[in-house]
Structure formats: structure tokens, C-alpha cells
């Protein structure tokens, strides 16, 4: 591939990414300003945990701290500039930079999300290669399992896994203690429904590719059934699942909250829940912007992975 064939799509992709990020940040900012009533009063009430009218003397330091007396466009510009510098604002409640609050918890969630997606892919590949295109009965069974697992709610599955494997069999720790072993059950909770979902997307394409002449051609050359499935067919069938994985990464990040509370794991989910319930808006906005950034990054990875798997896309 020449450089020019990469350059144009790269500019387009980065442009799109910046557009999405600015859009998410703007929406989050507008939501903040749309809060009913005077913002300084709201902040004070949130901090005090009680709703009452405040005197101007009480409000003055808050107004000064958050720059609320300046015109809206200036606040917006400051906010965006802050984002560029990596400054997500200050929490109303904790008096600390939002970036630091999220940063402490982010690692645990990212590890969980990536582990979950990796496990989901492994489960899906094994399941599809084992059951895909093996006659009507196995196909029916395969699809049934795909749909059933895809429909499993995380809170139910998580509790079942916890009861059976942690409390019952004692194979895994009950509480998140930071060890790799404690990652297994939460990751599985997220991975199993996701695997079903990915399998649904892959199965049709896998069965179609298995019937293609190039698969027959490979058999004619002496390739084994497993060799055809792994070497040729899987690559063709994985494209839809790769596209879905971008969405899955973002969704797993924001969906981690249930799993994290079931397994008492630290994570961004806990941060988000407590921020929402206490109306700590800068933290909520920070999580929103960060999630958007993750979606964008995940989609960049997806585009890259698709281009690697299907080189024809580069030409298009």
C-alpha cells in the first residue's frame, strides 16, 4: 500500500473523531447550564445536601470559583480549552479535579471491559467454529444458544455466577480484591451475553462463507475442515463482529456499573452512580465525555482492524 492510499482516509477518520468529541462535550456542557435555577445556588445546595435560598454573600465565592458571572460563550470556550489541556473541571462535592476522580477508577473498568471483550471473542470463535454450518440440527441449537445468551441480563447472570462459582464452589473470590482471579467472574458476566450477540452477527456470514467456492477450493487442495474454518472462513465471517466490537467496548464501559456493584469492584461505574445521585454534574459530564472518547477510539481501532482483515476496504 502506498502512503497516499492511507492518507486520505486517515484525515477523514480523525476529522470525524474530533467532530464526535466536540459534539459530546458541547451536549454535556449545555445539559449543565440547563439545570433549573441559579447554578451557584444549586452547587451550594448540593454541597450542603439541603435546598434553601442563599444570600449573595454566600454565593459570591462559588460564583468566583466556577466563573459563573462571565458570559455563557466564555464559559464554553474555557471549558473546551480545559478539555484540550485534559482539565475536566472540579467536582462540586469532593472539591477535587474531576480528572483525578475518574482517573483513579478508570483503570479497573478499562481492564474489565477489555478482558470481557477478549473473552467474548474467544467464546464466540470456539462456539461458531464448532457449530457453524454443521447441518440443520446443530445450527438450530447454535442459534438458540446465541439468542438465549445474548438476552441474559447482566444483573441476573452476575448473581448466578457469584452464587455458583464464588459462594458455592469457592473457585473465585467473592469480593473484588484486585487479583487477576477476581476479574474472571465479572468479565464473564459481561462476556457471555456479548459472545451470544457477536455469534448472532457471525453465524450467517460464517455459513455463507463455508459454502463459497474458495472454501471448496481449499478442501480440494487437501486442507482439513478445521483448516478451512480457521484459515479462510473465519476471516470472512468476523467482519460484522469486528464492527460490533467498537460499539461493544463503549457499551461495556457504561454498562460496567451493574457488574461492578454486584462484585464490589472499584470502577467508573461506581463513580458515575454516586455522581448522578448526588447531582455532582462535573463528574457526570466528565464520564460522558470520556465515554465518548472511548467510543471514538474504539471505532478507530475497528476501522483499522477491518482494513487489516479485509484489505479490499483500503482501496474503496
Amino acid at each position: 500500500m502506498t502512503r497516499s492510499s492511507w492518507a486520505r482516509p486517515a484525515v477523514r477518520i480523525v476529522g470525524n473523531a474530533v467532530g464526535v468529541l466536540v459534539g459530546a462535550a458541547t451536549a454535556a456542557f449545555l445539559a449543565q447550564t440547563a439545570l433549573p435555577g441559579d447554578r451557584a445556588t444549586a452547587i451550594l445546595n448540593i454541597r450542603a445536601g439541603q435546598a434553601e435560598l442563599r444570600t449573595p454573600e454566600e454565593l459570591a465565592p462559588i460564583t468566583a470559583e466556577f466563573g459563573l458571572d462571565r458570559p455563557l460563550w466564555q464559559q464554553y470556550a474555557d471549558y473546551l480549552l480545559g478539555l484540550v489541556r485534559g482539565d475536566l473541571g472540579t467536582s462540586y462535592l469532593q472539591f477535587r479535579p474531576v480528572g483525578a476522580i475518574i482517573g483513579e477508577q478508570l483503570g479497573a473498568t478499562v481492564v474489565l471491559a477489555i478482558t470481557a471483550i477478549a473473552i467474548a471473542w474467544m467464546l464466540m470463535v470456539v462456539w461458531i467454529v464448532a457449530t457453524g454450518g454443521r447441518g440443520p440440527r446443530l445450527t438450530a441449537l447454535g442459534s438458540l444458544v446465541d439468542v438465549t445468551t445474548a438476552a441474559l441480563p447482566a444483573y441476573w447472570l452476575g448473581i448466578i455466577l457469584l452464587l455458583v462459582f464464588a459462594l458455592g464452589l469457592g473457585w473465585f473470590p467473592v469480593l473484588g480484591d484486585g487479583t487477576p482471579l477476581s476479574l474472571v467472574l465479572p468479565a464473564l458476566t459481561l462476556a457471555i451475553p456479548l459472545a451470544g450477540f457477536l455469534a448472532q452477527a457471525t453465524r450467517t456470514e460464517f455459513e455463507r462463507a463455508l459454502e463459497q467456492p474458495f472454501a471448496l477450493s481449499a478442501r480440494m487442495r487437501g486442507q482439513s475442515d478445521l483448516g478451512v474454518r480457521l484459515g479462510h472462513v473465519l476471516r470472512h465471517a468476523s467482519l460484522p463482529a469486528i464492527s460490533l466490537s467498537g460499539w461493544a467496548l463503549g457499551a461495556t464501559l457504561s454498562g460496567a456499573v451493574v457488574v461492578e456493584s454486584i462484585f464490589s469492584r472499584p470502577g467508573i461505574g461506581q463513580v458515575l452512580v454516586s455522581a448522578v445521585s448526588s447531582q455532582d454534574l462535573p463528574v457526570v459530564v466528565g464520564v460522558v465525555v470520556l465515554t465518548a472518547a472511548f467510543y471514538v477510539a474504539a471505532n478507530l481501532l475497528v476501522d483499522l482492524a477491518s482494513a487489516l482483515v479485509d484489505p479490499r476496504q483500503r482501496a474503496a
Binding site: F214, S217, A218, R219, M220, G222, Q223, S224
Partner: protein, 593 residues
């Protein structure tokens, strides 16, 4: 050098079934392949459906057996069962199946895998889909080499390039890095052949190896197969095309509906076919020699078939010009690098078409013949030059001015299915094409539709196709409906763009007979576009040869095809041997032994 490499590979492989290896190495005089009474059926919900009922033949070193038949004859299924890959739901019975002296009925699936690719090479048709479209052809070759050998990677890479060179791929190092969609049709078909012969198999089975290839490319690919046969490979050639088979086969097996209707030495079978079906197949091959006679028995029954062909300029008055093209130029921005000169798809093309005449346009893919058709139809505007239809300007005028003349110009495409609304019945498709006045009166409309069906030889009464949907029609029926639709507006000119190219030879014969009958009855002018020189030779009064967007030669068909002047036309004509004729046996190869 390559040969040395492969013999080295062969020696290290010692886990082959002993009896198989013995037979392979000793080069036993026994036939390489013996099939007796092969029967294949497929399990369906309504019970077993037989698709092959008793195929037998034997094949020795350096021999070529061809299995000929139309779609659904069971020829491809037979070929696949010879390598144990008949497919899901199949039931295979065979009295005797010996491959290289070993009883293949008793082989385990492991032994089958060792046989495939290593001792039996298989070439499927259409390399665009028969090679993995996501892989470079070099990797595909690497897979073939890796499967039966233990050569290190670097050596395999050298072997892959060497294989590509052997099958006549120029600049093989470069081509090995390209994917099938980045190669031309001929090159990728050769790459596919290379994957099948990577281990110099004793038997090569080629299933329609040249279908969809241009004539000159087809000639190269067949020459490669012939060279392999000459080196001692046993070749099984599967084809629907008798003219392909005539060039290579020592013996021919003709199949129809799963049964062998006739088999025998190629020269005898093509020269003096005994079975009526074989006679029909042989007679259906169009060419210069068949001009003026019907290709199908049905066509021969028609009274008009006996009429001599009316050549233009025969009568005292020249028939009027209905379509004229003057200096047409059409360019497209070329793909890839910006700033490159636009590709001139049609470059200074001029021709005239008279009433009642067929002008054949022949050329290979990318020669600009379809673009010329689109210009003639007024579907796209020429950059230079002009088109005149029935004396009126046709190009570079607003569509509103073309509209009154549109009904006089009709088109029939290669794939009629894509030009039908799949949710419309045949009756509605035809009714919709009628002139407005007829279309509005239900009774006139019904009568006109029935007349159209009758014109194209489809039943209008019992068993009528009127209520059926395009998908449920056979290929021949679809093409008849497409022709009926073209006739609906009583056109003067019909543009036929590869209109018979996708049809089996006997169906093609019927459609060609129908087209020529209609032409005589209605004085229709045909602009007949085809890559098939045989078809062009059969139907055209005059022929126009295109290459790279230019007309390289133009003139009366007999003159152009018998005494071509331009080197490209000469190459084109040389690439097709005369079609087999019952009266004069084909030249064939000398001594098959």
C-alpha cells in the same frame, strides 16, 4: 529446477498410505483413475433425488477425458465425488473407484486429504471466487505448498513464484503479492491452476476452467492444460462447451440429466455423434459455418428457417440506415492515481446499421463494446461524435426530444433477471412495456401480451408463464420474456448486449434461432454485442472488432473472420478453432497415445 523441488518434497513425505505411494512412484502402467457405475443422489425432504446415474470411464497418464453436459447434467457433482467432496446430504455409490491403483472407496478422510492437492489437483471455475478474495495469491499458493510438504518458508516462497511463472504469469514476484481482485481474469485463473498443480499431481480435474474468460485468454489456459497433459498428467475436463472440449479431449462423455447418453473417442463423437442429444449438442454450436441454418431442431421446424438469409445489398435497393454512429468518443476518469489521463473507453468509433441487418461487435472485456452500446442507446452522452437514430439526432439532445423515438430502440441484456422487477409477474412485466394506448385497454392489453408470448415461442394458453415470477423461470424462458418485452413497442433496432452469453449451448441455439426468425419476419436491425466469435460469426452480416476502445477492423463477417487483416483480429480468430461439425471431423490432436 521446480521439478527438483517437488521431488524433494515428495521424498520426505513418508506417512502416505503405502499402497498409494507405491502406485504413485512406480508409475504403474495401470490407469490412473478408474470409475465404474458412479451413482450420486442428494437427500431431500421428499426422499433421495438422483443426480448422477451410472458414470464409468478410465483415464491413463497423458490422457484427457472430457465430461460434457448442460447445467443440471450432473457433470460437476460427478467430478467432486471423484475427490470425495460431493457435499452435504449426498449419497454416493460406486462399483469401482480406483485412484492411482488404490481403492478409493475404502479411504479414510485423512487419506482423502493426502490425496487431494498432492495426487489429484482440482481447478474450479471463476478464480475471483475460487481463490480466497481476502488473500494474496502468493499466500494461497503457500497454503497449497505447506499442506503436503515440509519445505521452509523461504523455499515455499520461491516455489510459489516459480509455479506462477510455470503457468505463464508474467512478473510473478509482483503478482504473488496481489489479491485475486487485483489481477485480470486470465491471470487469476492461471494462479488458481497453479494452486492445483503445486505438487505436480498425477491427475488434474478442471471444472469449467475457461468459462467467463475471453477467447484469447481461454486459448492460453487450454494450452497450459494441454502442456500438462503432454507432460504425462491425466486430465479430466468438465465443460458445457463442445468447442473447448474438442481441443483437448481424447475421449468425451456426454451427460444429460445425470445419465451418460454417449461416450467415445473425441473425433468419432464430434464427427459422427450417434445419440440424438449429442447430435443436437454438436449442431447447436454456432459459427461461421452455421450461418443461415437453424441451430436447434425446433428452429428447423419453423417455415422461415428454410429461407435464405437476406444479406444487405442483395436487393436492388439498399435497406435504409436506421442507426449511425460517427466518431464516438467516451472517456472515464481512470481509477487510482489522480491526474492520470482519462481512460478512453470508446475512441473514435463509427458504424452504420441498416434495417434488417445484424452488426456484430466483438471484443474482449474492457474493449469498449458495452460502452458503445450505451452510447447507441442514448444512456450516456459521447464526448465527441454523434449518434443518429432513424434520421434524427440522438446524442446531445434533451431526453425529451429522444423520448418519441425511444420505443423504436430496444435492448436485451445478458442477465435479464436483473432487469425484471422480481415482484412482478411475467404478465405485468410485458403489459407494462406495451405502448400507452394498448396498455390502458385491458382487453387489448391481454391480447397483446398473449401475442408477444406467442411471438417468442412461450405458451400463452395452458401452462402459460403469465402468472409466474421471473425467479421461477428457466434461463431460456427469462431470455424469451426479455425479448418479448423488447418487441412490445415494435422497435426497429434491438441492441443485444451479450444476450446469449450466459445460456447453455442448446438454449443459446434456440434463442439465436428465435432472434433470426424475428429479424426476417420484421426487418429488425440488431446491434449484436458478444465476446464469442462463434456466435458473432453465426448471426452477423457485418462485424466490428474492438480493442482498447478502438475499432481495429470492420467489414462483412465472412471476410473479417476468414481473412482477418489486423493482427488482433488474427489472434482472436486463431484462438477459436472451427467448431466441431458432423460433416467434417475436427482436426483434433494427432495420436492420443
Amino acid at each position: 529446477m521446480t521439478l527438483l523441488d517437488f521431488s524433494a518434497l515428495r521424498e520426505v513425505d513418508d506417512d502416505l498410505d503405502p499402497e498409494l505411494r507405491a502406485a504413485a512412484h512406480l508409475g504403474a502402467p495401470a490407469p490412473r483413475l478408474v470409475v465404474e457405475n458412479l451413482r450420486v443422489s442428494f437427500r431431500t425432504p421428499d426422499g433421495e433425488r438422483p443426480v448422477v446415474r451410472g458414470l464409468s470411464f478410465s483415464l491413463g497418464a497423458g490422457e484427457c477425458v472430457a465430461i460434457v453436459g448442460e447445467s443440471g447434467s450432473g457433470k460437476s457433482v460427478s467430478a467432486r465425488s471423484l475427490v470425495g467432496l460431493t457435499g452435504r446430504g449426498s449419497v454416493v455409490h460406486v462399483d469401482r473407484l480406483e485412484i492411482l491403483g488404490a481403492d478409493a472407496r475404502a479411504l479414510s478422510s485423512r487419506a482423502w486429504r493426502r490425496l487431494r492437492g498432492r495426487h489429484v489437483g482440482f481447478v474450479l471455475q471463476d478464480a475471483l471466487v475460487s481463490l480466497d478474495p481476502l488473500r494474496a495469491v502468493g499466500r494461497e499458493l503457500d497454503e497449497a505448498l505447506r499442506l503436503h510438504g515440509r519445505a521452509p518458508r523461504a523455499e515455499r516462497r520461491r516455489s510459489a513464484v516459480e509455479l506462477l511463472r510455470r503457468v505463464g504469469v508474467p512478473r510473478p514476484e509482483e503478482r504473488a503479492r496481489l489479491r485475486p481482485d487485483e489481477l485480470s481474469g486470465g491471470l487469476r485463473q492461471r494462479a488458481l491452476i497453479a494452486t492445483a498443480i503445486a505438487h505436480d499431481p498425477e491427475i488434474v480435474i478442471a471444472d469449467e476452467p475457461t468459462t467467463a474468460l475471453d477467447a484469447t485468454v481461454q486459448a492460453h489456459v487450454l494450452a497450459e492444460l494441454d502442456a500438462m497433459r503432454a507432460r504425462g498428467t491425466a486430465v479430466i475436463l468438465i465443460s458445457h462447451d463442445l468447442s473447448v472440449v474438442a481441443r483437448l479431449a481424447d475421449r468425451i462423455v456426454v451427460m444429460r440429466g445425470g445419465e451418460v447418453v454417449e461416450s467415445g473417442p473425441a473425433a468419432r463423437l464430434l464427427g459422427r455423434p450417434e445419440h440424438p442429444y449429442t447430435q443436437r449438442l454438436v449442431a447447436a454450436v454456432p459459427g461461421l459455418e452455421t450461418r443461415g441454418r437453424a441451430l436447434s431442431p425446433e428452429g428447423a421446424e419453423g417455415p422461415s428457417a428454410a429461407l435464405p438469409e437476406a444479406a444487405p445489398g442483395d436487393g436492388p435497393l439498399d435497406p435504409p440506415v436506421v442507426l449511425e454512429a460517427r466518431g464516438l468518443v467516451k472517456a472515464f476518469a481512470s481509477r487510482g492515481a489522480r491526474g492520470a489521463a482519462p481512460l478512453r473507453a470508446v475512441d473514435d468509433v463509427s458504424f452504420t446499421l441498416h434495417a434488417g441487418e445484424t452488426l456484430g461487435i466483438v471484443g474482449e472485456s474492457g474493449s469498449g463494446k458495452s460502452t458503445t452500446a450505451r452510447l447507441a442507446l442514448g444512456f450516456s452522452e459521447p464526448e465527441e461524435g454523434e449518434v443518429i437514430v432513424l434520421g434524427a439526432p440522438w446524442s446531445r439532445v434533451p431526453e425529451a426530444r429522444r423520448r418519441p423515438l425511444r420505443p423504436r430502440l430496444a435492448v436485451v441484456a445478458q442477465d435479464p433477471l436483473s432487469t425484471f422487477d422480481p415482484r412482478w409477474t411475467v404478465g405485468r412485466i410485458l403489459g407494462d412495456a406495451l405502448p400507452r394506448a394498448v396498455r390502458r385497454d385491458p382487453r387489448a392489453r391481454a391480447a397483446a401480451v398473449r401475442r408477444l408470448l406467442d411471438d417468442v415461442g412461450l405458451p400463452a394458453g395452458d401452462g402459460s408463464v403469465l402468472g409466474r415470477f421471473p425467479l421461477t423461470l428457466s434461463g431460456g424462458q427469462r431470455q424469451r420474456v426479455a425479448i418479448a418485452r423488447a418487441l412490445a413497442t415494435e422497435p426497429a433496432i434491438i441492441v443485444l448486449d451479450e444476450a446469449v452469453s450466459a445460456l447453455d449451448v442448446t438454449i443459446q441455439a434456440q434463442i439465436l434461432d428465435l432472434l433470426l426468425d424475428l429479424q426476417r419476419e420484421r426487418d429488425l436491425a440488431y446491434l449484436f454485442i458478444s465476446h464469442d466469435l462463434g456466435v458473432i460469426g453465426h448471426v452477423s452480416d457485418r462485424v466490428l472488432v474492438m480493442q482498447h476502445g478502438r475499432v481495429v477492423e470492420q467489414g462483412p463477417t465472412e471476410r473479417v473472420l476468414r481473412a482477418p487483416e489486423h493482427p488482433y483480429t488474427q489472434e482472436l480468430v486463431a484462438s477459436i478453432l472451427p467448431a466441431p461439425r458432423p460433416s467434417n471431423p475436427p482436426p483434433g490432436r494427432k495420436d492420443p497415445s
